[in-house]
């Protein structure tokens, strides 16, 4: 496992040197700071009686605090999920292509490593980065609202972890694309396409009814059967963040399915990388 962690550390050091990612972390920190300093919540026996942002009254309803925070947590979960994946696609798209660039790949291949260690380590490094960002953002949000309202829930944190799991599937496809074509733009495009496909796959049943019975519908159902159901996971993460009942039949199986898809995509990348001459 040591070679894997070695490559992951290499990826993380590279990420730390990038201003883009540092700016993102600073942005999250500033947002959390502004929220904690400007938001005033008056809670009375578990009911949110008044909300003030920058001194202006925001919400005139008096409702149970968890009910009042529900839409906010749901919105945050969606932002973390889709926003996090989109940012991850853009920010991490050139990690793998740059590792495989001429000069660097020869150096890596010369090390006492197996080839799959390079890809696996890159994947591990990027996922560590995503996990840290998600925990930092959602944990900060959780802390601010927990301290201000006295209502503590792990929902937003679990929602962020689900977003990470989804990004794992997306990044696995991006990494596999990098083994086919050494282009950051194409890597990002494949990640973006999978995100769109994953959103569609989550709604495959209602969308399939739009197609007429026959080959078209079968083809659509066949393709979307394989794709990770990202929109279903996004909805589940929002429901978890808001402590609402889940719409999916089994979140564990769905989550496992998305992760196994990611591993499958990664295995395709390993197969391609093993057979490639540099």
């Amino acid at each position: 496992m040591r070679p894997l962690f070695g490559i992951a550390g290499y990826v993380l050091r590279e990420a730390a040197s990038r201003k883009f990612i540092l700016a993102f972390m600073v942005g999250i920190t500033l947002l959390l700071l502004v929220l904690s300093l400007s938001l005033k919540l008056e809670v009375l026996d578990g009911a949110l009686a008044a909300t003030r942002l920058f001194g202006n009254a925001l919400n005139h309803r008096i409702v149970a605090v968890d009910v009042a925070l529900r839409p906010l947590y749901m919105a945050c979960a969606y932002v973390v999920f889709y926003g996090g994946i989109l940012f991850g696609i853009v920010a991490c798209s050139d990690f793998a292509p740059s590792l495989m660039s001429p000069g660097r790949i020869e150096h890596l291949l010369a090390l006492p490593l197996q080839r799959w260690h390079i890809l696996g380590g890159t994947f591990l490094g990027v996922m560590t980065l995503a996990l840290c960002g998600a925990i930092y953002g959602s944990g900060g949000l959780l802390l601010i609202f927990g301290v201000k309202t006295g209502y503590w829930t792990l929902g937003p944190l679990i929602a962020a972890l689900l977003a990470c799991a989804s990004f794992a599937a997306v990044y696995a496809v991006m990494l596999t694309t990098a083994t086919l074509v050494r282009s950051a733009a194409l890597c990002a495009a494949s990640g973006f396409l999978l995100l769109v496909g994953g959103i569609i796959a989550g709604y495959r049943t209602p969308i399939s009814r739009v197609f007429e019975e026959g080959l078209g519908r079968r083809l659509f159902e066949g393709v979307t059967l394989l794709l990770p159901r990202l929109s279903s996971l996004a909805n589940a993460s929002a429901e978890l963040a808001a402590s609402q009942p889940l719409e999916v039949k089994s979140l564990e199986m769905l989550l496992a399915g998305v992760l196994v898809f990611g591993l499958g995509a990664l295995a395709v990348g390993f197969w391609r990388f093993e057979g490639k001459d540099y």
């Binding site: 009911a47 999916v248 039949k249 089994s250 998305v258 499958g264 390993f270």
Partner: protein, 373 residues
């Protein structure tokens, strides 16, 4: 060796993608998700309620014989039931839209409850009075001084019903039945003559007024005929939305709260001037109470106290595992607006159905008996 390892990765990829597809297919499930509960609160007049209010403007008051030239313009038709309502601050009146309620889910449950003897009592009442409460009754108004029933009472046999009462005409189309002497059974088993305790009046086969005193009933008729005070009725036409609506006296509401929340009841008595209620029963039962007072700060504090009480009740329901109650209290909210606030509460129809299940069960023959040959 390199090719063999590559083959293993490819085979593994195929297996993983297939397992992933199966897991996602099974995990998501292809059945449509259950609809989240949605409650429609009665917050304002809906289009059908404006139409209903317009249809009910059937009474055109005749001009007084000594009316001057200023009265030459024809008077606007009005709803006789609204005209019959009490006027002035501190008065209360609650209107139950009996006909609308009867055709709502909760109405059907209540009818099931009433008919659990197979409708025998209802048939007996229908034959005796000539009135079918399920068809002829339109609205029922509960006031401080009695009841006002509106509907079609053309087939009612009032003369037989109130034959022991002293009846007299009271203006065109109105007749008052004052309590007469009645035969009562004494505690020693003997009989004696006593006085009935309620006065009844009818108006144009449309209204039936029941009051504590002849004066109270005549006041209602005076108001209907335009002889009462010029103050507006306690419920305006623009507030006739929902299946039940009206103005409840603060004292009555405080008494209801008093048992469980004495401090809140005292605060309500001190702060609130009037409480307007609206209840929608078209699917789930949703209630909106508008509470008004003169001191804005105190009214806001009362709203916060009520909101906190609802939040505590919800937490208690969650802790007790009472899922239905916790779910309905999710919709509970208080909306302050200056010197008034709106309190919204909902009860899912399924929760009421469960509570009234004994009625339906009691009305059906035992299953075992039905199975016997």
């Amino acid at each position: 060796m390199k090719r063999r390892r590559g083959g293993i990765w490819l085979a593994l990829a195929v297996v993983l993608l297939a397992v992933g597809a199966w897991l996602m297919f099974t995990g998501q499930g292809d059945e449509p998700p259950p609809q989240a509960p949605k409650v429609d609160f009665p917050r304002r007049m809906r289009q059908e309620e404006w139409k209903r209010a317009e249809r009910r403007r059937t009474q055109v008051l005749a001009l007084a014989p000594d009316a001057g030239p200023t009265e030459a313009t024809p008077r606007r038709p009005r709803d006789p039931v609204l005209a019959a309502l009490p006027r002035g601050k501190g008065k209360s009146a609650v209107v139950i839209e009996a006909n609308a309620l009867r055709h709502s889910p909760i109405g059907e449950l209540l009818v099931d409850c009433l008919m659990r003897d197979g409708g025998k009592r209802m048939d007996a009442f229908r034959q005796f009075s000539g009135v079918d409460p399920l068809q002829d009754l339109d609205r029922l108004v509960i006031t401080d001084d009695g009841l006002i029933l509106s509907g079609n009472f053309g087939n009612a046999r009032f003369k037989e019903l109130f034959k022991e009462r002293v009846s007299s005409d009271y203006g065109p189309g109105a007749r008052v039945y004052e309590p007469g002497s009645i035969v009562v059974t004494l505690p020693d088993g003997g009989t004696g003559r006593g006085q009935g305790d309620e006065t009844v009046a009818t108006w144009n086969d449309q209204l039936l007024v029941v009051g504590d005193t002849p004066g109270a009933v005549k006041d209602v008729l005076d108001r209907v005929e335009g002889r009462g005070s010029d103050e507006p009725p306690v419920i305006s036409e623009g507030s006739t939305y929902g299946e039940m609506y009206g103005v409840v006296s603060v004292e009555q509401l405080a008494r209801m709260l008093g048992r469980d929340q004495p401090e809140l009841a005292d605060q309500l008595r001190e702060v609130a001037d009037s409480v307007e209620l609206h209840l929608d029963a078209r699917s789930d039962v949703a209630m909106v109470a508008e509470i008004r007072g003169s001191d804005e700060a105190k009214v806001t504090d009362l709203g916060k106290s009520l909101g906190a009480a609802l939040s505590v009740a919800r937490l208690k329901a969650q802790a007790d595992g009472n899922k239905d109650l916790a779910q309905l209290l999710d919709f509970a909210q208080v909306q302050p607006d200056g010197s008034e606030f709106k309190l919204e509460l909902a009860v899912p129809i399924d929760a009421i159905r469960e509570r009234l299940a004994f009625c339906r069960d009691a009305g059906q023959p035992p299953r075992e008996a039905g199975m016997q040959p």
